[in-house]
Symmetry: C2
Subunit: 297 residues, 2 copies
Amino acid sequence: MREIIAEEFKRIQDEICAGLELEDGGATFQEDLWSHQHGGGGRTRVIQHGHVIEKGGVNFSAVEGRLPEFMRERLGGAATSFFATGVSIVIHPLSPLVPIIHSNIRYFEANTGECWFGGGIDLTPIYVEPSQASAFHQVLKATCDQFDSAYYKEFKRWADDYFFIQHRQETRGIGGVFFDYLKPNDSKNKQDLFEFVQAIGRSFLKAYLPIVSVNKALAYTDDQKKWQLIRRGRYVEFNLVYDRGTRFGLETSGRIESILMSLPEHASWIYNHQPQLGSPEEKTLLQLKKGIEWVTD
Amino acid sequence: MREIIAEEFKRIQDEICAGLELEDGGATFQEDLWSHQHGGGGRTRVIQHGHVIEKGGVNFSAVEGRLPEFMRERLGGAATSFFATGVSIVIHPLSPLVPIIHSNIRYFEANTGECWFGGGIDLTPIYVEPSQASAFHQVLKATCDQFDSAYYKEFKRWADDYFFIQHRQETRGIGGVFFDYLKPNDSKNKQDLFEFVQAIGRSFLKAYLPIVSVNKALAYTDDQKKWQLIRRGRYVEFNLVYDRGTRFGLETSGRIESILMSLPEHASWIYNHQPQLGSPEEKTLLQLKKGIEWVTD
């Protein structure tokens, strides 16, 4: 089944690249094929200096390897090697009015047969627009609801907890959904979980493009651009300090350029930057908190 | 004695700020006084948008606190609280021809009486100039040699090992000296070690200003500026992924703005950037390796 999953993930990568290129209208993805030292490899696709996207990546990989020690312990000691496949996306738009987006779908299998799915989509607006935040979450909820009425609430909270910059006490953005270790059980078999993960992968364009499409045409100021660079600095802090995928990749000698394509072309750190009271920047900061309910029934 | 050490560290902070302001000729340091939640505090001094320095900090702190669990274990279980004082410096010049510099001197004491000194100075040129790298290391060696003929060799190697970006397999810069856990013993008492650490603190201006003074007047190109932003990106990677002081600060809820003043105002990540063969950028990369002997007797 792992081949079927990997093939489907590649199709999702293709669809997302095509949708983003169309929306960008300027640049196209450049592909780098690479091999993993212990088996398998990936196709990293990077888009740069487009009309809308300053830098973005939509990466597919399917690799085999020996399990690091801490993973063996987690798996009860018997497993020694793994297969993992996934699609990872990070888009850094040029305009501060178009949000950064991140998404990931993944499948993991140990040589003992134990396996699970993970994934998610989350949005990092430079300026939070409540109506767009709601629409974004609504798409994710609708996707989740097709599979399990408990999913959205659970995975939305998981995203709030995961995409949290502990040392700043702020969320990276307005969250979305995040899930991991979804294992086949009595109520959902492997095929059910696979279909859910595909649906999440395919909701990416539905959730993101309507926002891009409206906001990409808006004019912005130098001050808004400056705020974007500061927010991107926070994005870098999250990815390098907390993100498990990034740290796992750095520690297990993954392909560095594919892992760190998640970092923006330009980012900025200003000492003790404090937005003015009542400014749009301050309003955004006040919405970078856990537990905001963007979808109300 | 801890008060004497802290007072001397403050004087060193004063001297370094005065020396850097004079060399900059444009901006002055702005001071923020702050208190630590469990006792003590610091004086963070930041300089921004000067003629030479784009962003820099020279921070003094003297704090007390409860020991985190892993530190208690390291200290044998009896110690429960600590006192720590130090001066930390990071300077990010505007010109890509003026190197980034970092230095730190510190003293740590557990409530059991166990204590040690640490510190170091290291240089991160955007373009490595061998003669300047040698002169820099020569100042550090001369300082070390006044105290122990074994110090320079040992602490130079320690800097090579410490300031290493594992996932890039490159050193952050050309190193310098780095040392930690220097404890009083039969050959050196506490006063000896304190004098050595003061000498390291006071060699900062001697090692750095001659390079700044020559290079600050040189014209530079847009391409050199672009390379600087990429090298600063690596600096951010090192500090957020590996630097023990940064990670300790983030995990123990230190004052975030003082800890992260080490990050540059602007940094950049370009997907799969490879300097041209034979270019000055490639020559620099080839010198970002461990074990280069910059001082030959």
